[in-house]
């Protein structure tokens, strides 16, 4: 159909190339510039109040080691939120992916090759994530139940299934260190750069391309903006939303692998504690809960703000008790800023 449309068109004689306009640039990118401002401001505050910590590379290495575990899930979650949906079940998908991992590893011992076993186990985990994501999307689309309600339910369901299947057992995954997957996923490049940071960057770039340079992303924005218009113009809104939930599923399972590999240990509640940090990254990054607007870059910066606060609170000389208070303060102020910027942009 597309080639037909194109064939009907006359040749383009005049390209649309508007001159660069700083004002327009600021207006169209206000959300990203806003969160960038918050990011830089906080950074300066940290450096000024704890120069010894924040001018040394170790702290950044630590941030890059711990932040990707939830930041990587915030990327596809941003896509879901732009489509005016939400997913609260990703922590349980992290765990269920690892349950599949363990079962597959255990069931393939006859191969007698740890690398192949681990490879199959990784594939099984990612497929499990995709299936659970698909199921979330399917229930939401086919029965027309709000995703908030469905994914609260599936979060309980899969974290429950996780406990039933593992009987709460936790155990070492020392064997993964014999395979190259260990270094590939959670090793380091040079002394300071963790591989999970590399994977976060890969997922971020892929997410950005999908959202901004692909038809899928165009449809995600349209669905979140006005689902009725999208349907009238022939977009398969159900399929696009199910695909978005599948992305969250696959990436969450991958995050589960990263987090478990990092400590070479399996514990059944591997996803616990990531729920609010991941959601906060998305909303801190300027993605609107009303759908239709949001950026991948904003989420990326939001995740590192969230990831830095805990360490920074202690480094600047406050006790750990302050952490949540400062989290809350920054999140609330940033969300107010985003709402203000959006209103001004309209």
């Amino acid at each position: 159909m597309n080639s037909q449309n194109k064939a009907r068109l006359p040749e383009i004689t005049q390209h649309y190339k508007p001159p660069f306009n700083l004002r327009r640039f600021i207006r169209t990118n206000s959300a990203q510039l806003g969160i960038l401002g918050v990011f830089v401001t906080l950074w300066i505050i940290f450096i000024v109040s704890a120069p010894k910590t924040f001018l040394a590379p170790h702290i950044y290495s630590a941030f890059m080691a711990s932040t990707p575990f939830f930041a990587i899930m915030a990327i596809p979650l941003t896509i879901v939120v732009i489509a005016k949906e939400i997913d609260l079940s990703f922590p349980s998908i992290m765990a269920m992916g690892m349950v599949s991992f363990n079962y597959t590893y255990g069931a393939t011992t006859f191969i007698h090759n740890t690398t192949i076993q681990v490879f199959l186990a990784i594939v099984a985990a990612l497929v499990t994530g995709a299936i659970i994501g698909w199921l979330n999307g399917f229930i939401i689309v086919k029965f027309g139940i709000p995703s908030l309600v469905v994914t609260i339910g599936t979060q309980f369901l899969w974290s429950g299934a996780d406990l039933v299947l593992t009987q709460g057992a936790n155990f070492s995954l020392e064997y993964i260190k014999q395979t190259f997957f260990y270094n590939l996923f959670v090793g380091t490049i040079g002394p300071y750069f963790p591989m999970q940071m590399f994977w976060l960057i890969v997922v971020t770039i892929l997410g950005w391309i999908l959202l901004n340079r692909h038809r899928f992303g165009a449809h995600v924005y349209l669905i979140g903006d006005n689902i009725n218009s999208a349907e009238l113009m022939g977009i398969n809104t159900g399929r696009v939303r199910i695909q978005a939930f599948m992305l969250v599923g696959v990436v969450s399972a991958f995050a589960g692998i990263l987090a478990s590999f990092y400590v070479a240990y399996f514990w059944p509640n591997v996803g616990g504690g990531y729920l609010l940090q991941t959601l906060a990254s998305v909303f801190l990054g300027g993605t609107s809960v009303f759908g239709g607007t949001g950026t991948i870059l904003g989420t990326f910066l939001g995740a590192f703000i969230i990831g830095a606060i805990e360490a920074a609170t202690v480094a600047v000389g406050l006790t750990g008790f302050w952490t949540n208070f400062i989290y809350g303060l920054i999140i609330v102020l940033s969300v107010i800023m985003h709402t203000y910027l959006r209103k001004r942009g309209e």
């Binding site: 383009i12 006005n226 113009m233 022939g234």
Partner: protein, 252 residues
């Protein structure tokens, strides 16, 4: 005999208990503008949404250029050369103009990757050549939500034109427009006729419909109550008949 561009035979549609359309027979000739008239809730919008593939009829048959089309969907109807300007405009207001023009039919290079430069170029050309937009606020990268009612309607119409439709369906296009904008719209519908295409025109304003349509079809309570060639009936007579239909459900 010349075949019809579009024909509906014995089309009925019910939503659960509610019978929205009952045994509708309707046709649209080559190079003909048909006006649909009827009170609120008469079934005009349901009929339009069946023609555009948004709703599937409960029973009945749809023909495009004499060929029966089973299970018509929105993409299928568009492929068959039907474009719609919806009453609700069907715009995405937080998105840019170029995204709205190509809504649901993005130009792509390979594997679904967007050809953004091409879409912006085409949008720019449409704006300057077809829409006659002069306001500086309207450019391919501006957000449609900031436009005036007339500008939004212009976007919806130009979108329909861009893909070279054989049949243009206009559902309440003058709603919320100023007098000047309405006049522009009427001349646009006349332009469709002159270009050799067909149109279905729905409006509350009998005067508008009377001025542009070759034929008027009156819908009442989900049925076709009657139809007239506009050259055979005076405006006052048509108005009297419309009032009578609304009161009694019958034309005479």
């Amino acid at each position: 005999m010349e075949e019809y561009r579009l024909e509906l035979k014995h089309v009925s549609k019910s939503f659960g208990e509610v019978q929205a359309l009952e045994n509708i027979n309707f046709h649209l000739g080559q190079n003909e503008v048909v006006g649909l008239l009827g009170d609120n809730g008469a079934g005009k919008s349901t009929l339009i949404k069946i023609i555009t593939g948004y709703h599937q009829p409960t029973s009945g048959e749809i023909y495009f250029n004499g060929k029966k089309v089973d299970h018509l969907t929105v993409p299928k109807a568009r492929e068959l050369g039907l474009e719609t300007v919806y009453q609700e405009r069907a715009l995405a207001e937080l998105q840019t103009l170029w995204r709205n023009i190509f809504l649901g039919r993005e130009l792509t290079t390979w594997m679904g990757f967007l050809d953004i430069q091409r879409m912006r170029d085409e949008t720019y050309r449409l704006m300057t050549e077809s829409m006659g937009f002069t306001s500086r606020a309207v450019n391919p990268d501006s957000l449609v939500g900031k436009y005036s009612g007339g500008e939004k309607q212009g976007v919806a119409i130009v979108r329909a034109l861009f893909f070279n439709a054989d049949i243009v369906v206009l559902d309440e296009p003058t709603m919320g427009l100023s007098l000047k904008e309405s006049a522009k719209l009427i001349s646009f519908v006349n332009g469709i006729k002159q270009a050799g295409k067909s149109a279905i025109f729905i409006d509350h304003n009998i005067l508008h419909v009377y001025n542009v349509a070759d034929r008027v079809v009156v819908i009442d309570r989900g049925r076709v109550a009657g139809e007239f060639q506009t050259k055979n009936i005076g405006l006052n007579e048509l108005m009297d008949k419309m009032v009578r239909v609304a009161e009694t459900g019958r034309l005479s």
